[in-house]
Point group: C2
Chain length 333, copies 2
């Protein structure tokens, strides 16, 4: 019951009302709770069937790396969901090397698996095609926003996130808002488009000098911030491509004796576990990576149970976490 309440985002009494057919629950909420209950039932049936067939009862999680808290959050979502379903998790990191991809595939084929959850690798066409050919169920955590056609996958609303961050900075009075890009993934394109759309809606011209390129690393945020600060007309706010970049922005400001948020507002993207502990605590666009891992796993378990997926592509909502790193711009001297 507690699990269903959490999954549906409602209270336990609400779940109880829906289960007992009592009134006092909005139609949309009732629908959502019923869907979660049905899903959970499928999961349990499917796993029970698998176990009674004497199968190994493990799912493979394949990801390129776990050297960022970001990937660890995905891992936690997958692990918790499998644990609730009574399944083991076999973890493989590939470092995006073809050799390691061949190795996990060979092991999966040799030792069997309930299915595979993949965090979308750089070269994903071949492994996904091979899984499909071999009839091994799989679902993808697509944190790159690739929207793979026909592949069960979970993403996040990157455009909306970019829009929300920019809209918030505009609402504080900022007009010169810089943005730092990221790797050439669709998620980067979508975030930048959200940034531009918010500016346009507010009638603020898009200044191309205020868009800096960058990888998703701290060093990139540091370099981009320095470039922006050295420009003739620096911004009053920086929307970083992710939280690691935002930490690089913090460093560039710190080295120049500039303070966040008095001298510069900073927004991140991801909401890594530690950024709420920074001083000042980072305002950032939360990407629900743990839920993305959990939902991809639930999609996989439904397929394992032989149940159809209602949606093969789902994007979970990003949300702006307002903390301490933004303030109105300083008035001009």
């Amino acid at each position: 019951m507690a699990e269903i309440a959490a999954l549906a985002g409602v209270s336990k009494p609400t779940v109880s009302k829906v289960m007992n057919g009592q009134p006092g629950v909005a139609a949309a909420t009732r629908e959502r709770v019923k869907r979660v209950i049905a899903e959970q039932r499928y999961v349990r049936n499917g796993v029970a069937r698998a176990l009674s067939a004497g199968r190994v009862g493990s799912v493979n999680l394949v990801m390129s790396e776990i050297d960022s808290p970001y990937f660890v959050e995905i891992l936690r979502g997958v692990e918790e969901t499998l644990d609730n379903a009574g399944l083991s998790m076999v973890l493989t990191t590939t470092h995006d090397e073809a050799r390691r991809h061949r190795r996990w595939m060979a092991r999966v084929v040799e030792h069997g698996t309930e299915g595979v959850v993949l965090v979308l690798p750089d070269e994903h066409a071949a492994p996904l095609e091979e899984l499909r050919r071999r009839g091994i169920p799989f679902a993808v955590v697509d944190d790159r926003g690739e929207s793979l056609s026909g592949v069960p996958s979970v993403g996040a609303t990157n455009f909306v996130g970019g829009f929300a961050a920019t809209e918030y900075l505009l609402s504080l009075g900022h007009r010169r808002i810089a943005v730092i890009g990221g790797q050439a993934y669709r998620c980067t394109t979508a975030r930048l488009a959200g940034y531009r759309a918010a500016l346009q809606e507010a009638g603020v011209p898009v200044d191309p000098h205020l868009t800096q390129p960058g990888s998703f690393r701290q060093e990139a945020g540091y370099a981009a911030a320095n470039a922006l600060l050295d420009a003739p007309e620096p911004p009053t706010a920086i929307f970083a491509g992710n939280d690691l970049q935002a930490m690089g922005v913090y460093r560039a400001l710190y080295e120049r004796g500039l303070r966040v948020p008095d001298d510069m507002s900073v927004v991140g993207f991801d909401d890594l576990p530690l950024v709420s502990l920074l001083t000042p605590a980072l305002t950032t666009v939360r990407q629900p990576v743990r839920n993305m891992g959990a939902l991809a796993t639930r999609m996989l378990l439904r397929m394992v149970a032989g149940e159809p997926l209602e949606n093969t592509r789902v994007e979970l909502a990003t949300s702006l976490m307002v903390r301490e790193s933004c303030a109105p711009p300083r008035p001009l001297e």
Copy 2:
């Protein structure tokens, strides 16, 4: 060759010299390189034997949680080592619940395993005893400094770490150095003893008011720092029980408008991946948790290969990482 060089902490040419019996390598170094080569050979033989016997080729990693970067680093050390040996890793988190302990044990018994690496759980006596009774090889990452007798385990030199941090603050001229404790594990006792020993060696009296209790969480560091700052005679430096506590100390200082390191020096413990990115970057005692995970795994693989362990208990060195969070104390007005 690169792996042996890395494991032995020497260059590749040195490994090459040792392998070819060439001169120009110190006796102790030669000895260390030979030992690593032998270990790696054992590992490969053992795994080859296991695989040719048609076994599943996976090792279970059991840990209480992965909600801290600390545990993730252990995980990475285990995963890398298993991956190099061509083995799969099955990951289980127990949340220190007896029910979950029974579950992983049941799975290990039912599905088989090469062996188990455990990050020492709160209630470890029963699971370790059961593994022994069933003849399942295991090794322990003992980050609590429990020094379990007769159990293959890897710890860290906590006393030395506490001593080094305090000695460093003394060398900067600090005399009123506070320390924050941690959970009631032996590692906490050892770190506090190192702190006291360094003070005593420098002839600085140990003021009991400067020792604050605390759990290993950020909130505890925050509360301890506030208590210390509100005392009649505040310290000029705070040695936190771990990095999360140090981030709580940063916050308490930030809220009072006090600056690190100008107004207060801060030292952490662990060296979590992100603390080098903080502003100011945290000076901390590095606990080689990834290597601890890797070494425990190598010990397990030697046992799997039927080779004797030269040492059942190994403690890896902690080391002080000097960054930006410490400075000499302000001169008295």
